[in-house]
């Protein structure tokens, strides 16, 4: 009973901060501590979000943003992971040679490439997806190479000494050994990609959450702007959470370490 109470108190402490924050947000504009014109109270924001959800446009924007992120991310993973395996596992010397070049590529701000992408692919979907693709592919490629090269040689040697063939070594030893590192790369790539996407949609798009923010700002619809902002934050958190879930499921064998 006491344990139960304690855990309840713990839970209460954990959520109380957020609760107080939302409460302050509701009260402060109403009593005039902050300008209600610029920062509308929470209830109005929720109302705006409800309105968007009711006429279905919210889901269209979410779907548009998610689709772009998903396509870019999947394309980057599909290309970068095998490329990383080949570079890291089959041609380690070549990968060492290519490392400076890849580092320079990874450093190139996807934003400064956006105009070039637009010149090449037009202002449509491809330019936006290619931004996601560009900003995701380098972290994933890097971490894959590192992951493959840092698989404990002892594992590979012992697998070989038991008589495992090359394919078995790859699928049973190297792939699982490198997977945690690869996942780190995918996660950091995904969060970066989502960040970029919103910005790309703000610069040029006709749908998507970034467009929603931009459009609300231009039309001075502050509650809608905040509603879109909250949606973006929620989506970002849930993408991150999904990737964690996926990682946990795929890497069951791994002892989970504490997550900061």
């Amino acid at each position: 009973m006491k344990d139960h109470l304690n855990s309840l108190v713990d839970k209460f402490i954990d959520v109380s901060g957020i609760f107080i924050f939302f409460l302050l947000w509701e009260i402060a504009p109403r009593i005039g501590v902050v300008d209600g014109q610029f920062i509308p109270p929470l209830s109005q924001v929720l109302l705006a979000a409800g309105k968007l959800a009711a006429d279905g446009s919210l889901f269209i924007h979410i779907a548009a943003s998610l689709q772009r992120t998903f396509i870019g991310l999947v394309l980057a993973i599909v290309i970068a992971v095998p490329a990383g395996f080949i570079l890291g596992g089959v041609f380690p010397r070549l990968s060492k040679q290519l490392r400076p070049l890849l580092r320079v590529f990874g450093q190139i701000n996807a934003f400064s490439l956006f105009p070039i992408f637009i010149l090449f692919f037009g202002i449509g979907e491809v330019a936006k997806v290619s931004i996601i693709f560009w900003s995701t592919i380098w972290p994933v490629l890097f971490t894959t190479i590192v992951g493959v090269q840092h698989v404990d040689p002892l594992y590979i040697k012992s697998a070989r000494s038991i008589g495992a063939d090359k394919f078995t070594i790859f699928s049973k030893v190297i792939l699982p050994g490198a997977a945690p590192v690869i996942f780190t790369g995918i996660r950091s790539g995904a969060s970066l990609a989502f960040l970029m996407l919103i910005a790309a949609e703000m610069i040029g798009a006709s749908a998507g959450l970034g467009w929603l923010v931009q459009n609300s700002a231009v039309n001075n619809m502050m509650p809608r702007l905040f509603a879109a902002t909250i949606m973006i934050a929620l989506l970002g958190v849930s993408i991150n959470y999904l990737l964690y879930l996926l990682e946990d499921n795929l890497l069951e064998w791994k002892q989970s370490s504490g997550r900061g």
């Binding site: 402490i13 954990d14 959520v15 109380s16 901060g17 957020i18 107080i20 924050f21 610029f38 920062i39 040679q97 290519l98 490392r99 400076p100 070049l101 580092r103 320079v104 450093q107 190139i108 701000n109 934003f111 400064s112 490439l113 956006f114 105009p115 070039i116 637009i118 010149l119 090449f120 890097f142 971490t143 590192v146 840092h150 989502f194 960040l195 919103i198 910005a199 703000m202 610069i203 970034g210 923010v213 931009q214 609300s216 700002a217 502050m222 702007l225 879109a228 902002t229 973006i232 934050a233 970002g236 958190v237 900061g260």
Partner: protein
């Protein structure tokens, strides 16, 4: 006789080391060349492709033209001005964030544990808010001037530093503090000699993360609304179809980013030489 012999030996050793130096230098140059071979080949292909017509030259300018554009920009002082503006904004926002976040993190992580537990979810939530969607709000509140751009950098930098500092302070090994206490160390000394060094790897990690994002965000912010800075340079070049300038600005930004990265790695080495470095990515 002895002195003569010694002189000869010294001469020999001297000349020997000199030869060695030249050899080492040559080897170093060869190593650098070997390391950057891929970049050199890439630049070579980049130079040839537009000239031969594999890719349209109007979209991708060859490096020679970009370098000459870069030189023009440097000579006319335009580039230096824009770099100065961009760096000024980035550094101001970053320093403000560090100055506020590190002490705040110490207080939250060290003294007000309960309050920290209550407020951390809020901090995480705020850190998750996309800075771009806040940009319009910043503009509404502070106008389109410098303040809103610096504030955006500040916002982006604040959360990684704050959260990492809190984690760092909270995770200082109790044993270290206890053993220091048992030896009669207290107060200020305990803080500066034990807690601060123990938390510094985390703090550094936060600083590094936020400096990376800061530069990134700045370019985007300058592209959305500014009248100077490297982001604006790109934006303007694109609007006027000055493709070489666009590439030149892109290269400058990447070089600056790489340089800042390098600077942080060096700083980390210097301050944290006592720490065993983990595997390098």
């Amino acid at each position: 006789m002895e002195t003569v012999l010694r002189k000869i030996v010294e001469k020999k050793i001297g000349s020997h080391t000199e030869k060695d130096k030249v050899g080492v230098l040559l080897k170093k140059i060869a190593a650098v060349f070997y390391d950057s071979l891929s970049i050199i080949i890439f630049i070579g292909i980049w130079e040839i492709a537009p000239r031969v017509g594999w890719v349209p030259q109007t979209f991708i300018s060859p490096p020679t033209i970009i370098v000459s554009t870069l030189w023009d920009l440097i000579v006319s002082g335009v580039l230096v001005k824009h770099i100065g503006v961009s760096l000024g904004r980035a550094i101001l926002g970053f320093v403000c964030a560090a100055v506020i976040a590190i002490p705040l993190g110490f207080f939250l992580g060290g003294w007000f544990r309960l309050f920290e537990r209550i407020i951390t979810p809020v901090l995480r939530l705020l850190g998750e808010v996309n800075p771009f969607s806040l940009f319009p709000i910043f503009i509404l509140l502070f106008g389109i001037g410098e303040v809103s751009k610096i504030l955006m950098i500040f916002w982006v930098c604040l959360w990684p530093i704050l959260l990492n500092t809190i984690t760092g302070i909270k995770n200082v090994d109790e044993l270290l503090i206890k053993s220091a206490r048992s030896m009669g160390v207290g107060g200020k000394e305990l803080f500066f000699k034990v807690i601060l060094p123990a938390a510094s790897p985390n703090i550094f990690h936060g600083l590094k993360t936020s400096s990376d994002i800061a530069f990134f965000m700045l370019i985007a912010a300058e592209m959305i609304g500014a009248s100077s800075g490297l982001g604006w340079l790109i934006w303007n070049a694109q609007n006027n179809y000055q493709i070489p300038i666009l590439f030149a600005a892109t290269i400058t930004i990447s070089a600056l980013g790489l340089f800042m990265n390098y600077l942080f790695v060096r700083l980390e080495h210097k301050f944290m030489s006592w720490k065993e470095s983990p595997a390098e990515y």
